[in-house]
Amino acid sequence: MAKKTVQESTEESEILKPFWSGVVTFGLVSVPVSLFPATRGTTLRLRMVDAEGNFLKRRFFGEDDSNALEAEDLVRGYEFEKDRFVPVEDDELDALDPEKSREIDLAQFVDLHALSPLYFERAYFLVPDGGTTKAYRLLAETLAQEERAGIATFVMRGKEYLCAIIAERGILRAETLRFADEVRSPEAIGLPKRVSADSETVAQFAKAIKALQAKTLDRAELEDQRSARIVKLAEKKLRSGTDVVAASADAGEVEESSTNVVDLMEVLRERLRGKLRERVGPARSPGKRTSVRVGQLESTTKAELYEMAQSLNVAGRSAMSKAELIDALEHQPR
């Protein structure tokens, strides 16, 4: 049985490609790593269907073309003047900084506690690549002992990121940080200057705060209640047979509907054990967005998908569900 599990995860990990592969360097020491997201979407995935229950896909159409365009017919474009566009190829973006596209060079190490979480954008786990885990473990151990975080900038998927490399339980994590000019200051917002408050009112609030003080957080508060309600409604329908379209015997559709959901956790466990190295190899050339894979997007939160859709200016994104966003992004230009 154990064998079968490994077999399955091998297949899965081929779907779940890392977001980035390259080396983390400090001094002249280099640690080959791959980055996997530390966040994933909710398990609920709704698909777009027509009134008869047939699965739909998002396709792109040109201005005077009734045929859907294929991915190779599409290219990213920048609007340099109103309604005037210049196409931008991915390899051109990569070439702007090839070093940073494959290297996270930890130039400075800062006090771990000096990092304001307001700047944290997204978290990734670093898993060791290449032959040995020694350099990886050495960096993790040293960061933990010294309570420091390594700071660097690097380029991933056509965008530069500032990141902090943090060790947690022997595992390296990259927190991408917002650049200073991406976080507004209270002055920039136009908030009024702080004035000292009436001490009696402060005391009233202090009393109210004390009354609300609790020891621990009730994790149930952080559960995704909406998804749970949707699943409940859908399962009720499935049980009673209301608004249910049975799985079609059509091969194509079965393939479409089969749950391709990748268990990010499984992949991370395998990769941290140093498994699958030979089989998978470096998944993508550094910093290159050759394609957006199903598994990658499945493990992305809706907010992140929305951000990706925003940066690609996917039309109608604000009205899209997670499934629609995935679908739209899978057909983005490469």
Binding site: Y78, V88, Y136, L138, V202, N313
Partner: protein, 259 residues
């Protein structure tokens, strides 16, 4: 230039109220691209299509479906999904105040500033009381049809609401096992510690700029003016050394020289 508030609300803290305005603390500086058709270099538009027939299905006719493990689909009407939406409300309910470490930073999602709405007396009193308590509030609110949970804390003396991710969206390191192997060499550990110490710095985020963004903009503008296609440069590939001790020693030497 003051920012525009995205939402108006009232903080409910026990029996006390604080009218506030919510502002995004994030400035979007991403470069936005459009999707073009290669043929005519014009933007494309997207539509939902039945891949079997190639037929376009108008948005109003599309539905969402939940797919069971066996492939059966339960069709969910838009009205049914809308019925599951939370009741709209202007309240930001403070559920609890906790010691700061209780709300894990890994759940933090997006920061929003809270500013006073009208009279600022209660607002500043509330901020001062939070500051004195050194606690972090746990808040719940419904904004634009969505239920949010958030951590209420101060940033530069002003209340900030940090929306939180759902628990199942965060992969916890606690559930993973760190890479193992032979014990680390104490000498190498010591050298690594020395190296970290020499590269230690005070954090100043204003030292870092998104130079790449500027380069991308320059490049596309040059291209728009009819400049040549960019020359593609290959990254020089440094082969990682297996001699960890040697690399550490050389690093220490190089940093000392620089100092």
């Amino acid at each position: 230039m003051a920012a525009r508030a995205m939402w108006k609300a009232v903080i409910q803290c026990g029996s006390l109220q604080v009218p506030v305005k919510l502002y995004s603390a994030i400035e979007d500086r991403n470069i936005h691209f459009r999707i073009l058709s290669r043929k005519d270099k014009r933007p494309v538009h997207g539509a939902m299509v039945n891949p079997e027939t190639g037929e376009i299905v108008p948005h109003a006719e599309a539905r969402r479906a939940y797919v069971a493990d066996n492939g059966d689909r339960a069709i969910l009407e838009t009205s049914e999904l809308a019925a599951l939406d939370p009741e709209p409300s202007r309240d930001i309910d403070i559920i609890a105040f906790l010691l700061a470490e209780q709300i894990d930073h890994r759940w933090y999602d997006r920061p929003y500033y809270l500013g006073p709405d009208g009279d600022s007396a209660a607002y500043f009193a509330f901020a001062e009381a939070i500051e004195k308590s050194s606690l972090e509030g746990l808040a719940r609110w419904v904004m634009r049809g969505k239920r949010y949970m958030g951590a209420l804390r101060l940033h530069e003396g002003y209340p900030v609401l940090m929306s939180l991710k759902h628990t199942d969206e965060v992969v916890a390191a606690e559930n993973l096992k760190a890479p193992g192997g032979a014990a680390l060499n104490p000498k190498e550990l010591d050298m690594a510690r020395q190296l970290l110490g020499m590269l230690a710095a005070e954090l100043d985020l204003s030292d870092f700029h998104d130079e790449y963004r500027e380069r991308v903009l320059k490049t596309v503008e040059a291209k728009a003016k009819g400049g040549p296609r960019l020359k593609l440069v290959k990254a020089s590939k440094k082969k990682p050394s297996d001699d960890l001790g040697g690399a550490l020693q050389a690093s220490l030497k190089a940093v000392r020289k620089r100092a």
